[in-house]
Symmetry: C2
Subunit: 393 residues, 2 copies
């Protein structure tokens, strides 16, 4: 298991989830780490988001407490007090300033946190901290996830640093971060402003180009903590070291994002939607988004049906500038539409073979300009409906 | 069966659909009728839309040919020629100007119309015209519809006129008109400009406030034909007769729209989403749309789960101005959220009883201003996935 200098991890089954699974995790840096965060854009924000966002904005963080099973959302002033108490318990036991503690929750909305359970479990966490227990934290964050999500990268150079990320998410995944939590720790030393900038860019090109459905949640957050313990020189913007850091961070987040799509509720396919030839990149993104979020396209993927008519319809209503006669669509390498017209039944048969794979690409060329964009999406299945119709029962 | 003076109807099983069902219909007015139309906003438009939109823009129409089983979309120049030929065959047999014929198609995208079948069936239609065969045309328009959709209204007064509408739609229903066809005939005499204006307003408040999923199609159209045969005085804007006409037309279209939602692919519920208290009506519409189109909300309806957390999340990401502490949510008459907080398990139990009904309302009050809006939506079910995964096989 990957370790990162100065970071340790612990998890407990606090009983918040009835299943008796791990549901409470702690990430700790022995030194205060420079930090940055990206938070849900939902106007209804859960207590942990309201508490943590201003703390992270200060640029330092030393511990992250995360629980699953209860979102502590729509819980009013009492919920905010509960989040505050949880953070304070963590700070007390670790002997650090409570403002250095981030708090994060995911689960059902509208129920108060079961404080007696947390009061019992939180004090047990610091004694259990271990540098190679990141997998337990990844597990404790899971809700409807069917597997835990971890990714890491190491830098080049003679004093390499490590980036290690964990994430949670399977349902409600949508651009602008829906019930999705991700925490990245690194022992690199990173300029504060650059850390923030690199995180925002990496989120934009990872978590914000995935979609399982179109809902965004009250609880999402992505946090990065950089404690500098690798003793590598400070990384700043507009240098080769800065570019390397940005690339590695995006790779970690994209790994996690793709795992989330692959684990989309009920999903059986990971589909890479690539758009070229739009008049500009905003238009390309509109088209990629429109195709990747169409329920009809997604059910056709589930049906392994090379139904390009639904794709061309989604291109047409995307709002992007489109000339129907210029559109090319490929499933994998197989062109099914050229110049806006179908290429015939033989090609469709080849395309159907592409759709039978667990992962494939759909490539749309609008033939108008240089605008490009991409999205990752899943299929829409019986199990999506089953999981979401039964979630609380 | 309702009849409308001067209008007659015919349908045939032309063999376009393999099932041998009625799949070709004709609506005929013995006099050229004043007409208006609303067409898909999709930038990829099917041949019949490209042909018919400019004809209707001229303001007169005497016949509508409609087929199911094939959309004649993404069929290029050949598809346009096919649509033209179909219209010409109708005009020849009826002895009218071909520019007075509207052509309309719905079904699979990307396959050429089976012209030999149409060349055989179209000439049979004029001889079969009957004033009380509207139900056959409604049936011939169906694709994945499980029932045909007809509605009518009669005006007050001593020379009453009738409005009679038929529609088709079950999947891909979405604001801005997705694979949805509707034709309304009336023997009223209506000022041309007012007819157009009344149709646009009625569509905005009927077909554009329903949603089953978020896809819009290449083929949608709503046409109205008014032949004046009721001998009532000409109806113009800003009069009591004009207001009555607008109300009756909206009622007919809303009837049809609600039938479409009720027949949503796999749907088991018709849900009326009502929003009050937004800062303005655009914001209210944003909220209603966001809730009505959320897959998570729609699967919760299917699961008969009073999961208001998903509704409040959808309100929060709608883009509307929202103060979480002011939000009230009711299922039917049962408040489940007040001041942004849940009202407790007893109320949720009462709300669950509301959700078990086939039709119910969800009422969201933002508590900020006077903005109001409404939407009709369905639940998202196993059968939605099944129907759309298997559609072409």
């Amino acid at each position: 298991m990957t370790t990162v200098k100065g970071f340790s991890f612990a998890a407990r089954a606090a009983g918040i989830r009835k299943s008796g699974r791990l549901d409470l995790g702690l990430i700790f840096s022995r030194q205060p780490a420079r930090s940055a965060g990206v938070f849900t854009t939902n106007k209804v924000q859960a207590a942990p988001v309201l508490l943590t966002a201003p703390r992270v904005a200060d640029g330092l963080c030393q511990a992250v407490l995360v629980n699953s099973g209860n979102a502590n959302a729509c819980t009013g002033e009492a919920g905010l007090q509960d989040a505050l108490s949880c953070g304070r318990m963590v700070a007390d036991r670790l002997g650090i300033d409570e403002r250095l503690v981030a708090v994060s929750s995911t689960g059902v909305i509208g129920h108060p946190l079961p404080m007696p359970l947390l009061e019992k479990a939180i004090p047990e966490l610091p004694g259990a901290l271990s540098e190679d227990a990141v997998a337990d934290v990844a597990t404790a964050m899971m809700t409807t996830d069917s597997f835990s999500k971890i990714s890491s990268r190491q830098s080049s150079g003679d004093r390499p640093y490590t980036l290690l990320g964990v994430a949670k998410g399977a349902g409600m995944i949508h651009p602008n971060m829906a019930t999705m939590l991700a925490f990245v720790v690194t022992d690199a030393c990173v300029d504060r402003a650059f850390l923030r900038q690199a995180l925002h860019q990496a989120v934009e090109n990872s978590f914000n180009i995935i979609t399982v459905d179109r809902d965004t949640s009250t609880n999402d957050m992505v946090l990065i903590m950089a404690n500098g313990e690798a003793q590598s020189p400070e990384i700043v913007a507009d240098t080769s070291a800065g570019r390397e850091f940005a690339v590695l961070l995006r790779e970690v987040l994209l790994d996690l994002a793709k795992m989330i799509v692959r684990d989309g509720e009920g999903a059986t396919k990971l589909v890479h939607v690539k758009v070229d030839g739009a008049v500009d990149s905003s238009d390309a993104r509109r088209v990629a988004y429109s195709v990747a979020t169409s329920n009809l396209v997604k059910t056709a993927f589930f049906g392994e049906d090379a139904n390009w008519g639904r794709i061309i319809a989604a291109v047409g209503y995307s709002g992007a500038q489109v000339d129907p006669d210029n559109i090319t669509i490929c499933f994998g390498d197989v062109p099914v539409v050229q110049g806006g017209l179908g290429t015939g039944p033989e090609r469709e048969e080849e395309a159907t073979a592409v759709l039978k794979q667990a992962e494939f690409a759909v490539h749309i060329d609008l033939g108008l300009g240089d605008g490009r964009a991409e999205y990752y999406t899943s299929d829409l299945t019986y199990d999506y409906v089953k999981i979401n119709a039964d979630y609380r029962t």
